[in-house]
C-alpha cells in the first residue's frame, strides 16, 4: 500500500504555528497542575497505586475457609500456562494426602516462576477447583532468580483465604455418609 503524502500548505510549512500549539498544551498542563488538580504523578514506591477491580496481578494459591489447600494437583494450569511458569510436583501414591477428606489429592510442590509469569490469568480461568487467583500484587522483586520462584508454602501464604461457596468435596462426603450402605473412609 502506498500512502499518499499530502502537500503541506503555507501555514504548515511555516512551522511556527505548530510550535505555538505545542506550547499551548504544555502551558495548559502547567496551569492545571499548579492551580487546579495538583500533581498527576505519585511518590512511588512510598505511595502505592490502588489497582482497580478485576486487575490481573500475580497468581497465588488460596485456602478455603477451613484452612484446607484447595488445589488438587490436576495440573491444568501447568498445561495451559503460556510461558511455562508453573511447575507442579504431583503427590504420587505414597505422597501426602489432601487436607480435605475425600479430595484424595494435593500437590507435593507447586512452584510459580514470577519472572516468567505474564499475568495472563489463564491459570485462574482453567482451574476447576477455584484454587488459584490473580491478586493485586503487581510489583514483585527479589535479589536473585531463585527467590523469584515462589513455592507452595509462599503462594498459599500470599493467597490467603477464599470463601468456598460450593464445597464440592465436603458435600460429596456428606452425601456419602448419608447413604449408610457405603460408608466412605475419611
Amino acid at each position: 500500500m502506498i500512502v499518499k503524502r499530502e502537500k503541506l500548505n503555507f501555514w504548515e510549512r511555516l512551522y511556527l504555528p505548530a510550535l505555538a500549539g505545542g506550547l499551548k498544551v504544555t502551558a495548559t498542563h502547567l496551569v492545571n497542575t499548579l492551580f487546579k488538580r495538583g500533581a498527576v504523578t505519585m511518590e512511588y514506591p512510598e505511595q502505592k497505586w490502588t489497582v482497580p477491580e478485576g486487575y490481573r496481578g500475580a497468581p497465588y494459591l488460596v485456602k478455603d475457609q477451613d484452612g484446607a489447600t484447595k488445589c488438587v494437583s490436576c495440573q491444568l494450569c501447568e498445561f495451559v500456562c503460556p510461558p511455562k511458569a508453573i511447575k507442579i510436583t504431583p503427590p504420587g501414591l505414597a505422597g501426602q494426602t489432601a487436607d480435605r477428606a475425600n479430595a484424595e489429592k494435593m500437590p507435593l510442590e507447586f512452584e510459580i516462576n514470577m519472572l516468567r509469569c505474564i499475568f495472563c490469568g489463564f491459570c485462574q480461568e482453567v482451574c476447576p477447583e477455584e484454587a488459584i487467583f490473580l491478586m493485586k500484587d503487581y510489583s514483585l522483586t527479589g535479589t536473585n532468580r531463585a527467590e523469584m520462584i515462589y513455592n507452595k508454602e509462599k503462594l498459599l501464604e500470599l493467597g490467603g483465604v477464599h470463601h468456598d461457596q460450593i464445597k464440592k468435596w465436603e458435600h460429596k462426603l456428606d452425601e456419602a455418609k448419608e447413604q449408610e450402605m457405603f460408608p466412605v473412609k475419611d
Binding site: 490436576c74 504431583p90 504420587g92 501414591l93 484424595e104 489429592k105 447413604q179 457405603f182
Partner: protein, 591 residues
C-alpha cells in the same frame, strides 16, 4: 539357516463371501465372516461393518480382543432391513430399489428401535445409520444414564485425558445434567490387589476387566456384586486380584475406575511424550509405548502388535523401568591408572586397604584412543569378548567385527526363567536370537564362557572386553579378572565387574537409544529413543562404531540407519532388510 528375510508371511487370501449393505446411505461390500476376539471366523457384526465403512461407533464394553458382552449399550445404532412380502420376496419401491423398513418399537411405531452394533450380525441389504438423529439421541440417552452416578471428579482422576467417558461426553453427550437427586456413592480407592486400586464410583460396569482376567488370563478373580445402582466390581471374597497381567485391566478400563498403584497421582497423561519401544524383560519382545516427560520415564504401556503380544503385556515387564533413572547410574568414562593405582588409593583414603583400584575420569576421545592403542598391539587370540544378549543387533554386529579383527573368542550369558502360557518367555534375554544371528554366540549360549575362563587362567587370554554383563557371577572371579592385562567394561549400572574395570565405558538403557532386537520367534523389531542418556553415557553402538573404525581401519556408518543397512548386507539372516522398511510392528526373519 535360510538367507531370505521376509516382511510378512502372506499366503494368497482365499476368496471371501461378501455381503452388500449400506452405511449412512453409502453402499459397501463387507466380508460375510470376520475374525472374533480369538481369531475364529464369525458373522460380521454391525460395528465391524461400520469400522470398514470408516464410520466410528462409540463403545465401552466392546473390545476387539475380548468376548462380546453387549452391556454398555453405547454402540446402539438405528438400522433398517429390506421389507419382505408374505411370499418372502423383497418388496420394491416404485423406482425398483428394495423397500427398507426402519426398525421401530413394537407398540410405538414413531420410535426407532436401535440395535447394539457390537453384537448384531449384518444381513444382506441391511442399512445402518450411525449418524442419524435417532442414533445420536440414543447415544445422548445412554451417556446421560452412565453419568447419573458418575462422580465427575476428573481433576483428581488419573484417567482424565485418556478417558472414553470424557471423550464421548464431549462428542456425543449433552452439555448439562438434568439429574438433581443425590448420586449413589460407592467405595473409593479400594485395594483390589498389589498393583491395582479400584474407584467404584467411576466404574461404568462394562465388565472388560472381568472378561479379561477370566478369558485371557484364566484367573477368574473379579465379578460384579450388589444390585441395581449399587452394582460394583469386586474381587471374590478372601482373594486378591494378583496375577502377572493385572495392569492390563487398567489399560482396557475405559474410565478411571481401575488405576495402577505405580502410576497413581504421578503425572497427568497429557504431559507424557510417547515413544515406540520394546520390552527387554524377556525374549517375547512385547511392543510398548514409553511415557516420559522431561527425561523421566513415568510408565510403560503395551502397544498393539498382533504378531507378538496383541494388546497386552505382563506386569513384570511393564514395571521394569525404574532402573533407567536410578541415581547410581554409570555416567562417567573412567580409566584405571595402571601402576599408580595402589599408590593413589593409599594416599587418598587411608581407610581403604588399597585393594580397590582408583579410577580417573577421562573423555571419550582419550579413552577410546587408549583402548585402540592397546588393541592394536595385542597378539591375535589373546582377546576375549563377552557380549550381552540384552544388546541390540547393531551393537552385537559391531562387537563381532571387532572379534573378527582381533581373533577373539566371543560369547554371551544365557538367562533362563519360567515361561507362562500367555506372553512370558523362558528366555529372559531380549535379543538371544539376535546374538546368535549376528554370530556373537552359538546355538547354546554360554558354551564358550568356561573356555574363556580357562584361557585367562592359562595366561593365554590377556584382554577381556565385557558388555553389559556382570561376569563375576558367571565364573570369572575377581582373582581371575585380576590376572588380565586389560579389562574393558561397558555397562549401565555399577556391579562387581565394573568396579574392577581398567576402562569403564558408560552405556545406555534401551529407552535412551535406537536399535533392533530379534525375539525368540524371529521377529525383528526396532525401538526408538524416549529419553536422553545421563551424564557422559553414550549409546554403545556409537562408541563401538568409533572403536571398530579405529581398530580395523574400515569405514562404518555414523547413523543407526546406515549401520543397520550395513548389517543387513553382511549378516545373512537380515539380507534384503532396510531400517526404513521395518515398520512399527517389525518383520519376521528366518531363524
Amino acid at each position: 539357516m535360510s538367507t531370505a528375510a521376509t516382511t510378512e508371511t502372506k499366503p494368497a487370501p482365499p476368496p471371501v463371501d461378501t455381503i452388500k449393505i449400506k452405511v449412512d446411505g453409502r453402499e459397501i461390500e463387507v466380508p460375510k465372516m470376520m475374525p472374533d476376539w480369538q481369531g475364529n471366523l464369525q458373522p460380521t457384526t454391525m460395528l465391524q461393518a461400520c469400522q470398514l465403512a470408516a464410520k466410528e461407533v462409540p463403545h465401552y464394553c466392546y473390545h476387539p480382543k475380548l468376548p462380546i458382552a453387549g452391556n454398555c449399550r453405547m454402540c446402539l445404532v438405528e438400522f433398517g432391513l429390506p421389507a419382505m412380502g408374505p411370499d418372502r420376496k423383497l418388496l420394491l419401491n416404485e423406482d425398483g430399489t428394495p423397500k427398507i423398513t426402519k426398525q421401530v418399537l413394537p407398540y410405538e411405531p414413531q420410535t426407532p428401535r436401535g440395535a447394539i452394533a457390537c453384537a448384531t450380525p449384518i444381513s444382506p441389504g441391511m442399512e445402518i445409520y450411525p449418524s442419524s438423529p435417532a442414533t445420536k439421541q440414543m447415544r445422548e440417552g445412554i451417556l446421560e444414564s452412565l453419568l447419573i452416578n458418575h462422580p465427575l471428579d476428573c481433576p483428581i482422576c488419573d484417567q482424565a485425558g485418556e478417558c472414553k467417558l470424557q471423550e464421548y461426553s464431549v462428542e456425543h453427550g449433552q452439555a448439562t445434567s438434568r439429574f438433581v437427586e443425590a448420586k449413589v456413592h460407592k467405595p473409593k480407592a479400594v485395594d483390589l490387589g498389589p498393583r491395582i486400586l479400584l474407584d467404584d464410583e467411576r466404574c461404568i460396569l462394562c465388565t472388560r476387566c472381568i472378561r479379561f482376567t477370566k478369558d485371557i488370563v484364566g484367573d477368574d478373580k473379579l465379578g460384579v456384586v450388589n444390585r441395581g445402582s449399587y452394582n460394583s466390581i469386586a474381587a471374590f471374597p478372601g482373594t486378591t486380584f494378583d496375577n502377572n497381567y493385572t495392569l492390563n485391566t487398567v489399560d482396557i478400563c475405559p474410565v478411571g475406575a481401575l488405576t495402577s498403584k505405580d502410576f497413581r497421582f504421578q503425572m497427568r497423561v497429557w504431559f507424557l511424550k510417547e515413544s515406540k519401544s520394546l520390552c527387554t524383560s524377556c525374549g517375547t519382545g512385547c511392543n510398548l509405548t514409553v511415557g516420559s516427560r522431561e527425561d523421566k520415564i513415568y510408565r510403560f504401556e503395551p502397544r498393539e502388535n498382533n504378531a507378538v503380544n496383541g494388546p497386552w503385556m505382563c506386569d513384570a515387564g511393564r514395571l521394569n523401568y525404574k532402573w533407567v533413572g536410578r541415581a547410581d547410574r554409570l555416567t562417567e568414562v573412567l580409566v584405571q591408572d595402571v601402576g599408580q593405582a595402589s599408590r593413589l588409593s593409599h594416599s587418598s583414603e587411608k581407610s581403604k586397604t588399597g585393594a580397590t583400584p582408583v579410577l580417573r575420569k577421562t573423555t571419550w576421545t582419550a579413552a577410546l584412543s587408549e583402548i585402540t592403542e592397546k588393541l592394536k598391539k595385542v597378539p591375535a587370540g589373546s582377546v576375549a569378548i563377552v557380549g550381552s544378549a540384552r544388546q541390540t543387533n547393531e551393537e552385537l554386529f559391531l562387537l563381532g567385527k571387532l572379534a573378527k579383527k582381533l581373533g577373539a573368542l566371543t560369547d554371551s550369558v544365557p538367562r533362563e526363567g519360567e515361561a507362562d502360557k500367555l506372553l512370558v518367555s523362558a528366555d529372559r534375554n531380549p535379543n538371544s536370537t539376535g546374538a546368535r544371528l549376528t554370530g556373537l554366540c552359538f546355538t547354546e549360549m554360554g558354551i564358550h564362557l568356561p573356555k574363556i575362563a580357562d584361557g585367562i587362567k592359562a595366561g593365554k587370554i590377556k584382554t577381556l572386553i565385557v558388555f553389559g554383563e556382570d561376569v563375576t557371577k558367571h565364573g570369572f572371579g575377581p582373582d581371575l579378572l585380576g590376572r588380565l592385562d586389560t579389562l574393558i567394561v561397558s555397562d549401565i549400572l555399577p556391579n562387581a565387574t565394573t568396579r574392577l574395570a581398567h576402562y569403564l565405558l558408560p552405556g545406555c538403557a534401551h529407552a535412551e537409544k535406537r536399535g533392533t532386537f530379534v525375539n525368540v520367534k524371529g521377529r525383528l523389531q526396532k525401538f526408538i529413543k524416549a529419553v536422553e542418556p545421563k551424564g557422559d553415557a553414550r549409546p554403545e553402538w556409537e562408541f563401538l562404531h568409533e572403536l571398530v573404525h579405529h581398530v580395523t581401519g574400515h569405514n562404518g556408518f555414523v547413523s543407526i540407519e546406515g549401520l543397520f543397512n550395513q548389517m543387513a548386507h553382511e549378516v545373512p539372516a537380515f539380507h534384503g532388510l532396510e531400517w526404513a522398511k521395518i515398520g512399527d510392528t517389525g518383520v519376521t526373519v528366518q531363524i
